[in-house]
């Protein structure tokens, strides 16, 4: 299964599942990172420690560890 972390810069994907629960899941959802949402990867920090993505009109920074929890498929 492909995760958000595997995506290259400028690649557009659709979210299939959030493999997390509790607060973090709520937080991601309130940022619009939820099942069915379309995401574009904008920038990687060195070694993909942190990535910047775009959901709707919003730019969000998140760590590689969190990106790894998000299953995606290419669109």
């Amino acid at each position: 299964m492909k995760t958000l972390l595997d995506c290259h810069k400028a690649c557009k994907v659709k979210i299939l599942k959030l493999n997390t629960s509790g607060d973090l899941k709520q937080r991601l959802i309130s940022f619009g990172i939820m099942k069915g949402a379309e995401v574009e990867v904008l920038e990687h920090a060195p070694a993909k420690s942190t990535i910047e993505i775009k959901v709707g009109k919003m730019r969000i920074a998140l760590r590689g560890e969190e990106a790894k929890l998000i299953d995606v498929e290419k669109i």
Partner: protein, 712 residues
Amino acid sequence: MNTVDAKACPIIANHIKVALVGQPNVGKSMLINSVSNAHLHVGNFSGVTVDKTEVLFDYKDYHFTVVDLPGTYAFTDYTIEERVTHEYLCAEDYDIIINVVDSTNLEKNLQLTSELLTMSKKVVIALNMSDEATKEGININAEYMAELIGVPCIKVSAATKEGIAELIEAVMLKHETPKNKPKLVFSESVEEEIAQLVWYLDKHKFKSTNSYRNIAINLLKGNKKTYAKLHDEPIWVELQPILIEASKHIELHHDSDDIKESFAEEYASFNRGIAAEVLKQKKQEEKKTLTEKIDSVLIHPLFGIPIFLFFMWLLFQLTFEIGNIPMDYIDMFFTWFGNTIGATIANDDIRSLIVDGVIAGVGAVVLFVPNIIILFIGIALLEGTGYMSRVAFLLDGFFHKFGLHGQSFIPLVTGFGCSIPAYMSARILKNDRDRLLTLFIIGFMSCGARLPVYVLFAGAFFAPDMAGNILFGIYVSGALLGLVAAKVLKITAFKGKDEPFVMEMPKYRLPTFKLIWHTVLTKTMMYLKKAGTFIAGASMLIWFLSNYPHNSELIKSYETKIETTQDKALKLRLGHQLSEAELEQSYLGTIGKFSEPLFTPLGFDWKMSVALQAGLAAKEVVVSTLGVLYALGSDVDQESSSLMGAISKNIPFPSAVAFIVVIMIYLPCLAASIVFTREAGHIKYFFYLFAFTSVAAYVMAFIAYNVTLLLV
């Protein structure tokens, strides 16, 4: 009541309390600033406001109390500052909610709106940033939107003040009309379950202030408060199985095992529907927005960090170069002022108190106002443009290695201005451990009040073209020390799992001149006010302690010596020796001498020890104390009349280095310590902090002193 009476007591008659709620960074604080003459802190990143603030103003016959609340993405209590908002909305008394919404990102903002609509409060929606929306070719049909969701929607712009009057009118109108039910429609399957619960509540005539529909929605969403309330009711026994069944149906419908996620999807599709109906995008969105173009340079994986370091270097260079231009004039002014005032005072003691105490002390602090202004401008730009979140992004990987959260960068940078707001803004960190860790190292970020000490010493020991670099070096090494300290604390005191880092990156904005001006002015006025009150008082105290007790025998013995000699040079030297000896036997000298052995390993004389101890009250006092001590002390000849000159002449370089190291590390000030204790939640943390910083400062200064001794 007749009309005359009504006019006589409008306070009771027309008072509206408004709670301002919205997602972070949508312009809530700026909106309040534009309706009143308040100057709330505004910045282009999430989490500027971290505590509730009340602002009062009058409009027509009404007294308004507007409460600015921290921004919140949803009612999830993710961070402390979001909890502040949630608790306020649930527990406090207010008349109406203004839900501030970013027009350029309507769909996402509606998430919070749809949650607010289930609260059974009067709501007015402010579609803020309409100026930006127009520029981006976004047009929102506010009337239609109001009709669709059943609450007034007003287009406003906090920046251009467009629509502000209409907003207030709408609030007044809403206040006078009875509550109506907002229209929030879910999918059919959810509506069915809601209807069933409502029917059940209705059957049992359940007593509640909130509507049955809202209770049903909150129950289904798994809202803890609603649960707790109903749990003790007799109907719970029967209600619970119905609820479980209903939740199962909804989860099944959404193909999910998480009711909260299912509801989020429900809300999202409602919001998408609203946005699709009311929003018209005239221009086709560009492939790459301006923000993304700038980002591709500023957060470039390779160049991002060097660019950031360059900006910092530039800032400190400017702080020194430009800040020092007016210095001579300010110095001249205070010398002239002291002489002029001094000439009018006959009594020797009072003259000395005023001239050598208050004027020398306050003057030494005011001297650095230009430097501080430039530093504040730099911080205001960092906060106002949106670059702040970018640096947090850039540094997160690096910070993470030291056990810090990327978002810690925001309180840490705030700490370069002043530690007090920095301690407060640590609330944006979700986890208590991260927050405490950040609280502990905020002090390592040298605050504006320490800048004078640095500028003073850098200027005293280095050529002007190097001093800016030295200043930059001091700040960077302070920050690096902070990181090392964080690592030490993380592997000893604050062990534990890492918290996730998820942060919104706002679009770049060019802060208006007015905004920068107000931010800088407010902070500078605070600095000056402190100089005029607290520092003046402290200078007087230092003056008293350093002038008393008088030792008449000492004076007499010197005076006879001076009289008997004919040599002019010797006379002068003896005069200096006398004032030095007097100073040493004063109260302050006694204190200094007493603590001197403790500081001798660091190369400090008693004056430096005293200045450091006085600096526990506030860092400006270090400079003012040095100012007083050297104004009274021996060297009052022409070329070293300035404090800088006195310092370079009287303090050996290694001691100066050690002194700077102590200033960098030890406790910021009394006021900050109090705020620290409050934010950390327990007095014991203050003692930990005190012990930690004191030991670290001592050890590092000892090393610095001895290494410098070897090198020079």
